[in-house]
Every structure is written in structure tokens, then in C-alpha cells.
Amino acid sequence: MSMIKIKIDGHQVEAEEGSFVLEAARNLGIYIPTLCYYPYMTPYAACRICAVEAGDGKGWSKIVTSCNYPAWDGLEILTSTPRVMNARRVNLEMLLSRCAPVPVLQQLAEQFGIVKPRWGSGEDTCILCGLCVRVCDEVVGAHALAFGERGIYRNVVTPFGQQSDDCILCGACAKVCPTGHITMEEISNRELVHNEMTLGPNSAISLPFRQAVPNVPVINPEHCIHFNTGGCKVCSKVCPKDCINYDDTDTFEEIEIGAVIMATGFDNFDPTPMKQYGYSRYPNVITAEEFEVMNNAAGPTGGKILLENGEEPRAIAILHCIGSRDENYHKYCSRVCCMYAFKFSHLVKEKTSAEVYQLYIDIRSFGKGYEEFYQRILHEDVNVIRGKGAEIVPSGYARGSEGHLLVRCEDTLIGKWREIPVDMVILCTALEARKDAKETGRKFNISTGADGWFIEAHPKLAPVSTTTDGIYLAGACQGAKDIPDTVAQGGAAASHAMKLLCQGEILMDAACATVMEEYCSGCRICNDLCSYNAIEFLEDKKVSSINSAMCKACGTCVAACPSGAIVGKHFTDQQIFAQIEGMLS
């Protein structure tokens, strides 16, 4: 595009041919009021407030709207002649006579000295600038808003006034509306859908979580408009350093490593199959993890403990051992539930005035300071009942006062069958191995036990190393444990790994296989037999040879060699024959 010269209020300036006069004026710092103009959208020129006088300097001049008037060579613009100021003032007065309460108009009115429009004042707050309709069409690409009717009946509306199913709740229209006529319906008071209670972000661009490393915002494709409709890209326009890259995807890196520490963690047991507790059927029956999220200040309720309908609970029951110490689910004890259950009741007592009932089988306060914490909780008058929670039933059936949940259990200490009315039930669900633990284990050559936890080399002597050397275990992936134990294991695994890495040379165990060249016929059967490809073929000597550093001494090649040319040290054929002979004699 060629550059041309134009004059604005006497200032000579260079501009691109066809570029809009308003931008040129703003670059020069000349103030021109606008209402329906927005930087990233094609100018609509509906409010006419940005009117200026355009002339050719030789007598011809005309009032034009600067936001969409294309510059041409020799153009002269006057932004504050009496005719222009009068035009803006009367237009503003006419708009005020329809939308008196709009703050942005009142500010402009002061500038132009309008006290009260001469034709009475209407109460409408929509100035029909069309920004919302255009942002939805051009930028977001959802086409959810439309101009209805025409003339003085013209209004901005979703088709037929119903909630439009094209609308993707991006909120762009509410953000762009200059008068606040469009407000986002208070989304957060949507009722508390428990199974969506996550700490994860739901806006399009955000930090994954507060302390994320690197502490850099990331685009979430499922919420971002660009990935849905191909439109928007406002973030790349506003980013000063222009570092938004839309086609950045996960990449696979091949890295050379010396050791691996498996710290893949655990999953929470999903209590839905246990029908008697009614999880996901009664909204106020939640799992411990959800209660934890509710307590988190960054969580959906901002740290407050609330029921489904947003009120505060009056009584809460905490049921221990849901899914653990259970014949048909997990026989092992998850170790951590008792202590965090007490933490929960402490939190409930602190944050609300609710009554707390804990139903346990045996209290496992095994750690340092754990028992003292248990005694302290007892003194905060938490009702502790020895008896596993048997069933949860909405109290509508029994007592007529709906809204409650009835926890049915057998209090073995007093030998009575009890029905406790509560508002909320927290299930301390078991810790179980990751669903994909088996595949991950197979990838790293470590086997998983019956419960899915990784198997350590030895339960007592080598709890953090595995049968495969160089691969270590840390944390709950090896078995349910709480934070102190996990941290300790982490340290141990790290030290094992460091030992391996900074040793310089490594101690090889004696057993390995070697090829006796005089017997080797060069048949190469053993070459691709070894899964550690420790066997290569020497072209010059036409014989195979085994790299002893890589050989793991499994002996498979020894058995496979047709001419018996490979000797497996410490497990030679003769030794085994001798053993057989010894056993049978």
C-alpha cells in the first residue's frame, strides 16, 4: 500500500492509503470521541459521534465519520469545527433522550455541556452500537446475537429471545458492551455439580494452577474459541511480546537417562458401585477429594463448605474405610484416611457450626504426633462412632423432614442400631493403584502386585529399588502411604539414583555370557535373539561376540546356540548338569 500525505487539524502526517482517519488522528494524540468503534473489528459507523469535517483544502468539505473514512492523498481533516461540534452535541443529546441512565453517555454529556435533553429522557440502557453483535460475528464466529426489528423498534436480541444454542458463553459481548447492558448471568451460582469439582482452569487462557512451574499461562483448547470456531485470536493481538503460538503441540523427546524414579502416585477409589452409599445419586454425598477441593480457597466455592443448594450444612458424617479393608474391593488398609478424616472434622468445626459424626472401624493414628492430634479432635466434641457406615438413605422416607440424609450404622460400642440425620456425607475413599499401572510397569520392566502397586525389590531390605536395576520407586505408587512416608521414600529413591549416576564406573555382577570364537560357526542365530542387543557380528572374524557391559546374563543365547559356543558364566551347562545329577542321585 502506498503512503500518502494528509493533514489533520493542520498537522501534516503520512498515512497508508485507505487507512482510516480515526487511527491516524489517534496516533497524533488528537481526541475524537467514539461509541461504536472497537480496535479489532471492522468499523460500523452507526453512532456517528466520531464525525469530522473532511475537505480537499480547496473549498469542498463534507461531514464524514472518521472511523471508516479512508484517507486519500491531499485530504484535510478538521476535528473541531463548530459544525462538527454541533453535530456531535445534537447526536449525543438525541441518544441521551433515549438512554439517560447510561454512565458513558453522561460523561460525554458533561464534555459537551448538555445538562438535560430537550425532549425528555428514556430509561433504555442499550445504545444500539452493535458492538456485541459484531464481536459475536466477526471475532468469536458464534453468530448467537442478532439485530431484531428495524427503525425505532430495533433491538439486540438472541433469536426468538430464547437462550441461543450457538452461544458458547465466552462473555465477549458482556466485555465489549460500553454501557453494561449485557451482563454475564452469574454463572457461578449454577448449582454445585459435585463431580465437576476440580481445581483445573475453565477459562480459555490461565495458569494451570497458582504455583505452576513454569509460571506461564497456557491455552486450554477445549475452552478456547479459536480452537472451537477458528475465530477470535484476540490474545495474539493484545500480547505485547507476540508470543502466542497456536500450533504449538506436545512433542515427544528422546532423552538419555541413567535412572528412573517411578512416582506415578495413586487413584481415588470411585464409590459409585457401592450403591448403599448413594454416591452420584444424592448430591450431598461427596468423596474426600471433593471435600478437599471445596475447602481450597481457589476451588469453586472459594473455600466455603456448602451444600448442593448453596446453604451451610448443619450436620456432617464422615465415613471411614470406603473401599478399603473390604473383601470385595480392596483388602488392604489405605493408611491415610483416618488422619485426614480428623483434619476434615477439625476444618468443619472451624469453618461452620455443624455437628460432626465419624464412623470408623479402627482408628489408625500410627504416625508421630498422630495420636495427640486424635485426642485433640476428641476434645473438640466430635462424635466418634465405632461402626462402619452401612447405608445412606434420604430422610424423606422416614422422618418426614426432607433435605436430610440418614446415615444408618451399628454403633458396636453401645451395641445399638443408629440412624443419624445429617446434611452432608463425606466418604473416605480408598487409595488404589493407577488404572494404567500394569502398562507403565511393563514399559519399565517392573511388575505390579495383585493390588496393582509396583513390586519393590524387597519389602524390608530394598523398599525403593525394583528388580530392574536403575529403576526406583517412590510414593504411593508402591503402596498406599501418607505424605511423611512418601517424602522419606522420595529422598531414598533420589539418593539411590544419585549413587548410580555419580559413581563413574559401575559394579557389574559376575554373571554374563561370552562367545568362544573357536566354536562359533558364524550362524548369527544369536544376533537378534538378545533383547538388549548386546551381541554383534564381527565381519572380519565372521564370528559373533557379546559386549559384556550390556549382557544381563539371562542365558537365553546360551541355550539357543546350536554349537554350544556361548558359555553362561555361573550358570554353565556343566554346572546345571551337575546339579541335575546331584539332585537325582
Binding site: V133, A146, G148, R150, D166
Partner: protein, 173 residues
């Protein structure tokens, strides 16, 4: 096709035919809506949603067009559709008195439909027969040189259902 018996099966077929007739070209959108208006005497909501889907245009654009142009209406019109011409020529020949009479007789305002869905009253800007101002069309039949008295006579005639040929001779013959 009375408006009451719209059921989903034939609305889909009917809209499909109409859209097909114009090969779903955007330039034909207004003509498609006119055919629907003629077919149902108004634009039903689900018909517009179907059009939006078949022509893969946003529903917002279809709604904007349906409410912008005067010949479309989202509410069912009356059985007899009265159009009073308010062109300048007819206005100068006192079309206002005719409109006032219609509004008085039918007890509705311009643009409305009587409760029993018999009559809907509308004004239109110039039907192109200015020689016969003030002019009224009722169901495509033209009634020229209307006066206050003739209005009530025609209404009674249509109410009694005898759509006999109406003499339009000049009263002052």
C-alpha cells in the same frame, strides 16, 4: 393449510421443498421466507430453525431478516388480510379516515389481528394503483376510491362471507 395443524413431519418436508426450489442460494433467502409466509400465513419458529440448518446460515441472520422486512410476521395473521395503502397519493386522498374506520370497526390497531383470527389489518406504502386512492386490498382483491361508508359495507359483506364482485364505479357518476 390452517396454522393449527402444523406437525413436524410435513413442516420438514415442506421447508425442504421450498429450500430446494431455490437451491439454498443466499440471494433467494427472502423469496424462501415469502413462500413459507404464503404457505403458513406466518413464519413458525421451527420453520426458521429448519431453514437455518438446511442453508447452514446462522439462525441469528435468519431471525434478523424475518423481523426486518415488513412482509413477514412471526405471529399468525388473520384469515382475511386487509392492506390499506398509505402512499402519498392515497394519504392526500384521506386514507387516514379509512384506517380510523377499520380500526374502529375491528377494534384493533394497525399491525394487529382480531382475537378470532378473522381479520388482520396492515398498512402498506403504495401498491402502485394511485389513480384509485385511497386503495385497500383484502385478500388480493383491490377496492378503490374507499370512503368511510364503503369500509363498513365491505366489512359486513366479507363477514357474511358473500365475496360478490364489488362495483368500484365512481360514486359521483
Amino acid at each position: 393449510m390452517t396454522t393449527a395443524t402444523i406437525n413436524h413431519y410435513d413442516i420438514d418436508k415442506a421447508i425442504g421443498e421450498i429450500v430446494e426450489k431455490y437451491e439454498a442460494k443466499p440471494t433467494a433467502l427472502i423469496m424462501i421466507l415469502q413462500d413459507i409466509q404464503k404457505h403458513y400465513r406466518y413464519l413458525p419458529v421451527d420453520a426458521l430453525k429448519l431453514v437455518a440448518r438446511k442453508m447452514n446460515l446462522p439462525l441469528a441472520q435468519i431471525y434478523g431478516v424475518a423481523t426486518f422486512y415488513k412482509s413477514f410476521s412471526l405471529k399468525p395473521k388473520g384469515k382475511h388480510h386487509i392492506c390499506v395503502c398509505t402512499g402519498t397519493a392515497c394519504h392526500v386522498r384521506q386514507a387516514i379516515t379509512v384506517i380510523d374506520t377499520f380500526e374502529r370497526e375491528l377494534k384493533i390497531k394497525i399491525g394487529e389481528t382480531t382475537a378470532d383470527k378473522e381479520f388482520s389489518l396492515e398498512t402498506v406504502n403504495c401498491l402502485g394503483a394511485c389513480a384509485l386512492g385511497p386503495l385497500v386490498t383484502i385478500d388480493e382483491v383491490y377496492y378503490g376510491n374507499m370512503t368511510v361508508t364503503k369500509t363498513s359495507k365491505i366489512l359486513d359483506k366479507i363477514r357474511t362471507g358473500s365475496d360478490g364482485e364489488y362495483e368500484t364505479e365512481e360514486e359521483t357518476e
